[in-house]
């Protein structure tokens, strides 16, 4: 087990190095640079001035040199300095990541609360009306774009309840917890509801598989109540693969907050990313991609290890 963990952690290194290379190359392929973009705002910049500013940002050097310098900072967990604000990317992200994490975790909780029970009911009442309703719901959720749902809800709220159209002034969790949760509730519901479709289908499939196993039949035949069979025998085994899907889903939820954050005016990482792309703030674009990629890699490993803990049959060499 220990050897397996060490091996996996070592394999993370080439993956993350690969991520830095790919992201760096993609960012440098963006036509244009921040100086010309800013020059557009302030009128023309003479070539000498432009050269000086580029040098200040370290953008004048050879790509390989730039990468090497940036990489040597990355391994010291220093993501560089935002070209726009002049503050470190780490501090900029530290202000925004908690907002996105809160949204992501609330959405995750919502998706579990909706997806798992409906999936279970669908499986234990296979081919009943409830099953068809649950399956149709899951299919509909998978096809509905979440930004469309968000727009429809905003229109309905504005027309029928006279609620204001977001964005409103954002309230931070530590300033006013209740006000903050009030704001996050609808976006988290939309995001979580959208993610619950996959979870419903997955829970149903694994649950159906487990319900056909011999030991479940044994449990039935020794006269246990349905409740005992389902919760004690079937559910515990069916949920193991579901945990995987949930664990792998969190990073993708973080990436998926981009749209919801920009619709609801939530000052999280997703909205910051869009701003960074539009303003060619290279270090920020790179930093966010690498941050999420690291989270994906770590949560992949975490899920595999959790799998071994939950299911004693699984042993990693």
């Amino acid at each position: 087990m220990q050897r397996y963990i060490v091996q996996r952690v070592l394999l993370m290194i080439p993956t993350l190095i690969g991520v830095t290379v790919v992201v760096f190359i993609m960012v440098r392929l963006i036509p244009g640079d921040i100086v010309s973009l800013m020059a557009g705002d302030f009128g023309a910049v003479s070539p000498e001035q432009k050269q000086r500013i580029l040098e200040e940002f370290g953008l004048h050097e050879n790509i390989a040199v730039q990468y090497a310098r940036w990489f040597s900072h990355i391994i010291r967990l220093d993501l560089g300095t935002s070209l726009l604000s002049g503050r470190t990317v780490t501090s900029e992200l530290a202000a925004r990541l908690p907002v996105t994490l809160e949204l992501g975790l609330l959405a995750l909780a919502t998706s579990i609360a909706i997806g798992v029970p409906i999936g279970i009911i669908s499986a234990i009442r296979q081919n009943s009306l409830a099953d068809y309703a649950g399956r149709s719901l899951a299919i509909a959720i998978l096809a509905a774009p979440n930004f469309w749902i968000a727009l429809i809800l905003i229109v309905m709220a504005a027309r029928y309840f006279q609620w204001g159209v977001p964005p409103r002034q954002y309230v931070h969790l530590h300033e006013d917890p209740i006000g903050n949760l009030k704001m996050m509730f609808v976006p988290a519901m939309i995001l979580g509801g959208a993610a619950s479709g996959t979870l419903m289908r997955y829970t149903r499939t694994t649950m159906l598989e487990v319900l056909r196993q011999d030991y479940v039949r044994t449990a039935w035949s020794k006269g246990l109540s349905e409740r005992a069979v389902v919760t004690r025998h079937a559910l515990r085994n069916a949920l193991i693969p579901v945990v995987t899907v949930i664990g792998l889903g969190l990073p993708s939820l973080l990436g998926g907050t981009i749209i919801i954050e920009s619709i609801y005016g939530i000052p999280g990482m997703g909205r910051y990313y869009v701003a960074a792309i539009n303003q060619l703030d290279f270090p920020v674009i790179q930093g966010i991609n690498i941050l999420i990629a690291s989270m994906v890699v770590v949560s992949n490993l975490g899920v595999d290890l959790l799998y071994a803990v939950l299911d004693p049959r699984i042993q990693y060499g």
């Binding site: 993956t15 690969g18 991520v19 960012v27 963006i30 159209v165 991609n289």
Partner: protein
């Protein structure tokens, strides 16, 4: 006499292929009503993409500033937008972009996925190792943020190939890993071994024996993939990175609607409905194809 003769002919002679096909068609519709519905809508969308003029008589770009935000009417049965353009026509013309990108992504990812996966699995060695590390990178990269980055980087490319490429990079990498796994299993098969023993080159074995056997896997997922691509494209256009005005696009229409939707809700409803129906149709068709083709699921439907 004539009756018994036809009866005998029907019993003895094999059915004509035409009848066989029509019978297969009826049985598909009966067993997979939602899949058949999906196929119907998908076909309709493809026709719309090819000849939008037959579905919508009005010019999608014709502005009528005196009729801005007008709601549903007999002439404009999905209402008019912020420039007075006919929304129904814009949705019909918007199908072209979505369908082109959806199918482009499927063709590109299938090609790259099959090529990379089968060569990687068959050849093994350093090529396999390098490619698999690249696939690891692809799996680690964050989906939507990375796609936005690629779309921005490749700005100088024409829009449709750029969107297809951006959406396809990550998907073809994960697709190639699945194909590689199947290729590794196929490599152990006796007919592959026999072909190699007869002196066939690697390229011939891959082309003649591996690819025909991995192709069904790609085909089974292709319909669902069209739906996924349409959804991502609409998200990109909604965020402003996809299709640029004045070209009609559903995601873009929803983005424009944000400003006016409280006043004119029909602008928010219909483009979203179009995305929903398209993705739903391709997903249902995909589910039915999977049920029908995938031997592991044959027997009881889930």
């Amino acid at each position: 006499m004539a009756d018994s003769a036809t009866l005998a002919r029907e019993q003895l002679l094999p059915e004509s292929t035409g009848r066989k096909r029509s019978r297969a068609f009826v049985s598909f519709v009966r067993h997979y009503p939602l899949g058949a519905f999906g196929a119907f809508v998908a076909l309709l969308l493809i026709l719309m993409a090819i000849m939008p003029g037959t579905f919508a008589r009005q010019n999608p770009d014709l502005t009528m500033l005196t009729e801005r935000y007008h709601g549903i009417s007999s002439e404009h049965w999905m209402g008019q937008d912020q420039l007075g353009r006919d929304q129904y026509s814009r949705i019909v013309y918007g199908a072209r972009t979505s369908i082109m990108i959806g199918f482009g992504v499927v063709v590109f990812t299938s090609f790259m996925g099959v090529l990379l996966g089968s060569v990687s699995g068959y050849a093994g060695g350093w090529f396999d190792t390098m490619l698999q590390r690249l696939v690891d990178v692809g799996i680690a990269l964050p989906g939507l943020p990375f796609i936005i980055l690629v779309v921005t980087s490749l700005q100088l490319m024409p829009l449709v190939p750029r969107l297809v490429l951006s959406l396809s990079i990550l998907i073809s990498l994960s697709q190639s890993r699945i194909i590689r796994g199947v290729t590794l299993a196929l490599k152990q098969e006796q007919y592959v071994e026999a072909a190699r023993a007869l002196g066939a080159h690697g390229s011939r074995v891959i082309g003649r024996h591996i690819i025909p056997n991995v192709l069904p896997i790609v085909l089974v997922s292709s319909s669902t993939l069209v739906g996924a691509a349409v959804l991502i494209e609409s998200s990109l256009s909604f965020l402003g990175y996809g299709v640029q005005p004045p070209t009609a696009s559903w995601g873009r229409q929803l983005n424009d609607a944000r400003e006016f939707m409280v006043r004119a809700p029909h602008l928010a409803v219909f483009p979203g409905l179009a995305i929903f129906l398209t993705v739903y149709a391709f997903n249902m068709l995909g589910d039915a194809i999977r049920d029908k083709i995938d031997p592991r699921l044959r027997g009881g439907r889930r």
